[in-house]
Symmetry: C2
């Protein structure tokens, strides 16, 4: 039995286009003699469809589109297509109105429908918002011609169907249970020959190894082969890496599809051997920086193209962040399609210009230079009366950033280029960036990449020759918003900052934990204060390409007008006799600080 | 038995401050002879705490804080306090790590803990993200001294405890079930004498009447009195209106607390009459505009104060939106604390200045005038080479808005004023606003109020004399970004636009539904296209004060890079023989259009 893995790149909501993608794969698979075609979770509407799922007409259109697709498919091929289907008992049972399902299509008809059982509702996932859980361990039987002896013997393969999260509740692998039930275990108990898993699993650095370890563990534990199909492509903030894999019943890998690109792979299940046969194994991307690079390139490419852009514009400061984003954009869209804008001020160093020009030369991208000195004077003059007697400071630094932000948006509006934002995760965390200034843009490309990782990625990029000019890598980072300014005037050393941020943002550590790990209490308190204060800026940031398990954006939902400090770890005793006067909870002003 | 209803205004995360608020209410209640004090859902941490709940140290601090509170409370008073508590069986059972609970405090100890059972996961609510559902119908028994005859007889009152959503699954009231179980029904079956409901239910226009109808229905249906306690105050985008109520067993209201302010009310349950006794009933706010006004005033006041601001700055265009927001801010923060900035351009009409000045005079707020003509010329000069040969258009209009946005942020940064955004819901829906321009600000005050409602609210405000100058109400709305421009050059008439938006955004209607209701297919298609295109702008908008059942913000989660149109209602047939070449899904550019 030949199983084709259709690792497609759907566009969210594009039912017709996605049906065409599936159909094209099905025709290729049929030509290759496949019996069954697997597509990713919600392959008909793309993942994540978010609140489009709340429109009854969208659900109806999916029903109609899947029927049209069924009739167009090659008749001999069984096809599993992901879609949302109505829960007809929702209002009588008090359940959610739809299921996250897979339709098994055969001979122009829907033969069966299987529902996802474990619904992720954490991080960027909101599945309990939309879906009801399926209650059945889903499987179907496929009949094949056997190969033993002289006679053609009809054999059957019993296939268990799981959807994404259904596979992710292995108590023996994780050392804990995440959901009350384990769909894989139930299928094995039912006696299936093979488990398939149809996924839309977003990229996170290092996740593929974890996935493969977990799937290998499950296959070996249950002595049951597993075929895992993943979506590929960028959809807003999420990047799906593909890398669909299959493991045989000993837990050995037999197939791996390409990373970060559409792919079609074939694996064969032998009823006689009762196992999957070895097939093509595309090597993993290595080192880790190569993987991260490929993810960011795909994220930019798909966001731009799926929004209808072919060209991008980027502000080139001569610093490392804009250098990296330019390199990513040049790879994603082609050098000819990237425009770099240099916007020097009187505080810009000579090297900021020359470094940016050298970078543009290496990348082969066009640049324009627009000095901002006259506009800075213009704002000073305009605000002179109102600001008379005040000292120049953060306000004036922010204005420089906002003048640049305005100029970049003017270029974007005038020529139809997508403005890419260049801030990194460390800046975004502590608010070392200007809202409506350097935060402007349609997509925040590296806002989930910490500053120290920006450096390592650039060094990797230079492995065979200088792409990012070496001087950009070696000079001290600076926003150049006042004379002789460097980032470390305002922030801890980036090695220290990034370690604290990793503990605070990813690991949910308390101040006590971080101090116990050796960090200075004063620095920990400063970082926590900055991160808390910057919440209002992050709320207005563009979508951030997610590459870690905790990115700012859809998966980071923090209150703004709150008053809580990790730094205070002891409870406050309340004197019953003398209730204190209520105090205004937070004195931090909603001020914007400057940035590179 | 005297029951005190503590309608408090907590700040999210401020455990110590909230404990003090509860303690202060408890001392007042004890002085009034109360036996039991009720506080809102999650009263110790404030609602909604969002991802603060993911920090183990935050949950631990809550445990410590509630113990400190228990020891400080008046000894004779039973107190119910809302907090999150650890689910100790989470990893063994595969459940969520915490519960949304109420602790019953007595004599310095936690006597019992009750868990919320129905967890809202829709609109702005994400409770399945954090909480495990409770499995028990929760109740406790309070013993009271009886009043019958000569002897003092010990009687007991059996009290059922529900938390917010637990009360909202009345099949007989709604005509459908929303959850599989009905906690109220289970408590009645258990024989409770009284049901209490501890809530944090956000304001939506008209919701109080619905709540009261529903609670009255439940009380009468089960012949069981119900006491409903609501949080009050603004927390980011959500405004909690208070208006705690109690209904007796015939479904008649016996108590109502104030709207939009902290309050303490007392109701008495008579074990002999087996019912609640009549108490104070604060009248409902009427008409609807009075209610909406009070909500927006509280939303601004609490957002500002809880973020540490005492003063606000607003761009005054002479139009109706900025006029209304200025009036709200003056009421919320005091006229002395509101600064209006007039920023006329060469395209500004004379009346835009005089109308704004007259408004400021009526409100008693200070103004400053900063003409933007020189900066417009500055940008033109700066961009002259790059834009040579192009026609002036949307880019230049956006620049005017962005110059104003920069100036307002400069004032905000320099003087520490909170910048309030003035766009209405109709604009925000169709993207008739400039990102990084007039969308700038810490809070979008009226971005959930449609334009037609802005007019009605202003007319109500003028009921006893001119507050909003009449000319602002009667002149055609205009962005004044080019000569003789009016909104209706680009948009349908607001009556038509708002009706279509109501159907599209609130009611999830399809294009066919809207056309069947009498709207022009071309206008419907235009509005759908504009709303879809504006998604990237809304993603970067400030928090929007929510006053309808579907506001842009936390409860509106739409993809940006998607390709789907409500306007195409027929499915696309897929020709099996001739698969079309895949097309780029959307050609709309990420361009920003102008605004008032």
């Amino acid at each position: 039995m030949k199983i084709a893995i259709a690792q497609i790149n759907p566009t969210v909501g594009d039912l017709t286009g996605n049906a065409e993608r599936i159909l094209s794969m099905a025709q290729q698979a049929a030509d290759l003699g496949a019996d069954l075609l697997l597509t990713p979770e919600l392959s008909l509407c793309g993942y994540p469809p978010r609140d489009l799922l709340m429109r009854p007409s969208f659900i109806q259109q999916m029903q109609q589109q899947v029927m049209a697709l069924a009739k167009a498919l090659p008749p001999q091929l069984l096809v599993l297509v992901g879609l949302a289907v109505e829960n007809k008992e929702a209002t009588s049972k008090g359940e959610k109105p739809i299921f996250n399902s897979m339709a098994l299509l055969q001979l122009g008809q829907i033969r069966e429908i299987f529902h996802k059982r474990l619904l992720p509702t954490y991080d960027v996932f909101d599945e309990d918002r939309y879906f009801e859980s399926g209650t059945q361990a889903s499987s179907f039987i496929y009949s094949v011609q056997g190969e033993s002896g002289y006679e053609s013997v009809l054999k059957s393969v019993h296939i268990g169907v799981t959807i994404c999260e259904d596979l992710w509740n292995s108590e023996s692998f994780w050392g804990k249970r995440t959901y009350p039930i384990n769909p894989t275990q139930e299928l094995v108990a039912k006696g299936v020959d093979l488990v398939i898993n149809l996924s839309a699993s977003p990229f996170v650095c290092g996740k593929q190894r974890l996935r493969e370890d977990m799937i290998a563990h499950e296959a070996a534990q249950y002595q049951c082969p597993i075929v895992y199909v993943n979506q590929v492509g960028g959809n807003d903030d999420l990047i799906f890496d593909g890398q669909s894999v299959a493991f045989n019943r000993t837990g050995k890998i037999v197939s791996r599809a390409s990373a970060f690109t559409t792919d079609l792979q074939l694996v064969e299940f032998s009823p006689d051997a009762h196992d999957l046969q070895p097939a093509e194994i595309v090597p993993l991307l290595a080192p880790a920086d190569a993987e991260l690079w490929a993810a960011l390139v795909l994220g930019v490419k798909d966001y731009a193209h799926k929004c209808g852009f072919t060209q991008a514009v980027i502000g080139l400061s001569g610093g490392i962040d804009s250098a990296l984003v330019s390199a990513i954009a040049a790879q994603a869209l082609g050098s000819d399609n990237v425009l770099g804008i240099l916007m020097p001020s009187p505080y810009s160093s000579a090297h900021s210009i020359s470094d940016a020009e050298q970078l543009a030369h290496h990348l082969g991208i066009t640049t324009q230079t627009i000095p901002i000195g006259p506009l800075m004077s213009g704002y000073d003059t305009t605000l002179a009366d109102l600001f008379a007697g005040t000292e120049s400071g953060v306000t004036e630094e922010n204005l420089q950033s906002r003048i640049r932000g305005n100029l970049l948006m003017a270029v974007s509006n005038k020529f139809g280029h997508l403005l890419l934002t260049t801030g990194n995760k460390s800046e975004m965390a502590v608010g070392y960036c200007t809202l409506y200034g350097d935060m402007n843009g349609g997509l925040a490309v590296i806002a989930d990449v910490p500053k120290t990782r920006v450096y390592s990625l650039c060094r990797w990029l230079n492995r065979d020759g200088e792409v990012i000019p070496n001087h950009i890598l070696t000079k001290p980072p600076s926003a150049e918003l006042k004379p002789d300014q460097v980032d470390q005037d305002s922030l801890p050393n980036y090695d220290i900052l990034d370690d604290i941020l990793e503990r605070l943002v990813q690991q949910q550590q308390s101040a006590d934990d971080m101090i116990a790990a050796g960090h200075s209490p004063a620095v920990v308190a400063q970082v926590i204060r900055l991160v808390t204060r910057a919440e209002f800026k992050r709320r207005q940031a563009p979508p951030v390409l997610k590459v870690t398990d905790r990115a700012f954006g859809m998966g980071w939902r923090m209150p703004i007008a709150s008053h809580w400090s990790l730094a205070v770890s002891e409870p406050s005793a309340l004197p019953a006799a003398d209730v204190k006067k209520l105090t205004v909870p937070r004195v931090d002003r909603l001020e914007t600080i400057f940035t590179s």
